[in-house]
Symmetry: C2
Subunit: 314 residues, 2 copies
């Protein structure tokens, strides 16, 4: 598990351990948090390696004896990409190549990769199915994710890997430490009377609890047969940004003045409605167990109980 100490990574580790698997987690803990692995570290079936995947040797040394790699590590900060244009190339493309090459050399046959639904950009096909034509990628982050998907697909076809590509959208929940909900909570933590929202209240997103996302990932993995399978992972309904903010402030028992303003001019950061067609998953029997409102409230409650996360931020 790469990115084992991350939001999605740590939840997936917990679930795999609960299912009886042995898990080796790697993370450089730049955005990952060792605290997220406290439960995992109590298991004798879990091993943690503090290491950077940009170093091929680090990746390669872990692979012998491994059945499947969950590659969930990524650089995922849009704004960073524009300021540090090498980061997306290094952390999302070269690191993914390191993972693929180490798998090939050590005969690891299965890869699960966390891509992103942001690849669909401002598509007009809503809800958006996996086969939607991808538009031009306007951000370095999305370019790097598309590049990673392409290398994974080429490796699968050239060397016989089996790959599962997930395109999740707006995953929320416990241990969330980035994304717009996180930033709202951080603002309100410091200034409870005022909330600056970089976006329009009518923007619509499908909020999905991270545990439902992990369920989807493992269900898809157990059913994937083609060399490369792509699965959207998102909520089945969508809600306005105003709704998500109302749930957040209600959970915090705050009544701030809310100031909506245009988002910063980062290309691609303000798709009006991001709503995925998740029929591929629901056809396998998947249904989210947690409602969008509960998922958002859970994320907020976790941050309230863990203010160290808000102080550090990332």
């Amino acid at each position: 598990m790469t990115g084992a100490a991350g939001f999605l990574g740590s939840h997936t580790v917990d679930r795999l351990l609960a299912d009886g698997h042995e898990v080796i987690g790697i993370d450089n803990c730049i955005t990952g948090r060792r605290q997220f692995l406290e439960r995992a570290c109590a298991s004798p079936r879990f091993q943690f390696i503090l290491g950077d995947l940009f170093d091929y040797t680090t990746v390669s040394e872990v692979c012998p004896g491994v059945d499947a790699v969950f590659h969930l590590a990524a650089h995922s900060n849009l704004r960073d990409g524009a300021e540090f244009p090498r980061r997306d190339l290094d952390q999302n493309v070269i690191v993914t190549w390191n993972v693929l090459e180490a798998m090939r050399r050590h005969g690891v046959g299965t890869l699960v990769y966390a891509s992103t639904a942001s690849l669909y950009g401002a598509t007009t096909l809503v809800p958006t199915p996996e086969i939607a034509r991808l538009p031009d990628q306007t951000t370095l982050l999305c370019a790097s994710k598309l590049a990673a998907e392409a290398f994974i697909t080429a490796y699968a076809h050239t060397y016989g890997l089996r790959a599962l590509l997930l395109r999740p959208a707006t995953i929320v929940g416990e241990r969330q430490s980035q994304g717009h909900l996180f930033h709202f909570c951080r603002q309100l933590h410091h200034h409870p009377g005022h909330l600056d929202v970089p976006g329009h209240p009518a923007l619509r997103r499908g909020y999905l609890d991270v545990v439902d996302c992990v369920d989807a990932m493992l269900l898809a993995l157990s059913h994937a047969t083609a060399p490369v399978e792509i699965f959207n992972v998102g909520a089945l309904s969508h809600h306005s940004l105003a709704d998500a903010i109302a749930w957040t402030t209600s959970e915090l028992q705050l009544d701030p003045v809310i100031h909506y303003h245009p988002p910063p001019a980062i290309a691609g950061s303000a798709v009006p409605t991001l709503h995925l067609d998740c029929s591929k998953l629901t056809n396998l029997g998947w249904r989210p167990q947690t409602s969008p409102e509960t998922a958002v409230r859970r994320a907020v409650r976790y941050l309230t109980a863990n203010p160290w996360l808000l102080a550090a931020g990332c």
Copy 2:
């Protein structure tokens, strides 16, 4: 001009010099040939740098004062990719990022990039327009070209570059030193009585002379207005592999025994018909000046007159 000593690169250098421009050419001469630049080197407006673009400093040092970069250097050998899986990443993705970043830092505003029509894979939309949905990329070479296109597009949108992406198909002509025609000529050079053809005689390709490709590139560049414009570049008609072989053997005045056999199992190497919709170009007034047969014969004649190319191969 990156890849200045290459097939397309050297022809583009000649044309830009003929049009009165100053040109700095870079090439590592691994597949490029200094002999292709003999005419260019006679011009006081041409400067050649023997250097590897994988070294960022090499790229960066050339940029000050440059108006536009033609990035035509690439690793383009399909079979190599499977044997040396790092090459496509290094030479096509990281090198392209080096070019983009050097342009950004030095304020170079225009990029012309030679991508490939192979990105369309085995699309069923024939003739294939630029807006065709790209299928899964099954080779490392195509994955790396798609990744390069994505980073170029993201740089254009994020930092205000203007980019022209060309997707050429089956370019032939003088100085050609790879591709199936080249390999036929090399075989016949060594064994004039026998030709092994890794493919079906009914495979269809649109053979375009490299000089027509350069015309298309410069015409498209003079009309491109959007931050990113994609142009197919290919012949307006298509011919069977059997036709191309007949023109080749006729030009060589040979009558070999021809043995067709299935191509090696490199994923993606045997698209039945590769025929591009070039309306975007023809709407600008572009028409190939050389017929497919003449273009093929010209390629063959050049190789006959320059047997050193056949001996070395690449």
